[in-house]
């Protein structure tokens, strides 16, 4: 329990760092570290497949994509952020955490657990046999992503 809480605190800490570090490269790497923490939390919740996906895809692939984008959009002119945003955030976050904790404390035991039957089968069976139509939707989303990237990076005609 203590290890899990420490991992969750690390996750929130690195996510906040990812948002508020000035250097974009460091922000992307903090996001990867946060994903790593989340992956370990998933492993500890008996969800190894979700953990593997989180670490390999989110911490690996998405970080590479972010770093590539940062390299391709390397600009001398830094985007001027609002100075107020960084000053207000710690205050906002501390107040929000306190309110969050109070609400959670008030909610303790208030939400009933809906009875659910015991799970049967393996992850593969649940993943492939428990779903039908949404698999088609997922394939459509992946194809849409592929085609949109191809369309966005296509070579321009001479007339353009």
């Amino acid at each position: 329990m203590i290890v899990q809480t420490a991992l969750l605190i690390g996750l929130v800490l690195f996510s906040v760092l990812a948002i508020f570090l000035k250097d974009l490269l460091r922000a992307a790497i903090s996001l990867a570290v946060a994903s790593l923490f989340l992956g370990i939390v998933f492993f500890r919740m008996n969800a190894p497949y979700a953990g593997v996906f989180e670490i390999s895809v989110v911490a690996g692939l998405i970080t590479v994509l972010f770093i590539l984008t940062i390299a391709l959009t390397n600009t001398a002119e830094e985007v001027r952020e609002s100075p107020l945003a960084n000053i207000v955030f710690p205050l906002f976050f501390v107040v929000f955490i306190v309110i969050d904790a109070l609400v959670m404390k008030g909610l303790l035991q208030k939400i009933p657990t809906v009875a659910s039957g015991p799970e049967a089968g393996t992850f593969g069976e649940v993943l492939w046999k428990g779903r039908t139509l949404d698999l088609l939707g997922q394939i459509a989303v992946i194809l849409a992503g592929v085609f949109s990237v191809l369309a966005l990076f296509r070579k321009r005609d001479k007339h353009d």
Binding site: Q4, L8, I9, L11, V12, S15, A18, I19, F20, L24, A27, A28, L31, L38, V41, F42, M45, N46, A47, A50, F53, V57, V58, I62, L65, F66, T69, T73, T75, E77, V79, R80, E81, S82, A85, V88, F89, F93, F96, D100, A101, L107, Q109, I111, T113, S116, E119, T122, F123, V126, L127, R131, Q138, V141, A144, G145, S148, V149, L152, F153
Partner: protein, 102 residues
């Protein structure tokens, strides 16, 4: 629900709140996208922890895996759009997109 579930809920709400604040306050396009990623982390944490608390980890895991796959496709598209926006405006400032001029 178990007491552990409220702990997970507490942290995922904090993640979503931090991400939403950054979405409202920041101006750099890449940073806005990092904020969206943080929100997505909060959502996947609450998905899996709810499954864990109810003893339905396998279904929750299948949902999280689906969510991650969709997230990757979203990230690839959005980052391609960001690169194209940068080529047009020579800047990553989100305010420059409000001008709506070629």
């Amino acid at each position: 629900m178990t007491n552990t579930w409220y702990l997970y809920l507490f942290f995922s709400v904090a993640l979503v709140a931090a991400g939403l604040y950054a979405l409202l306050a920041k101006r750099n396009l890449i940073r806005l996208f990092i904020a969206i990623e943080v929100v997505a982390k909060g959502v996947s944490l609450i998905l899996l922890s709810t499954g864990f608390a109810r003893g339905n980890v396998l279904v929750a895991q299948a949902l999280v895996v689906t969510f991650i796959v969709v997230e990757v496709s979203l990230v690839a598209t959005a980052l391609a759009i960001i690169i194209n926006v940068y080529r047009h405006t020579k800047s990553l400032d989100v305010r420059k997109l409000a001008r709506l001029k070629g």
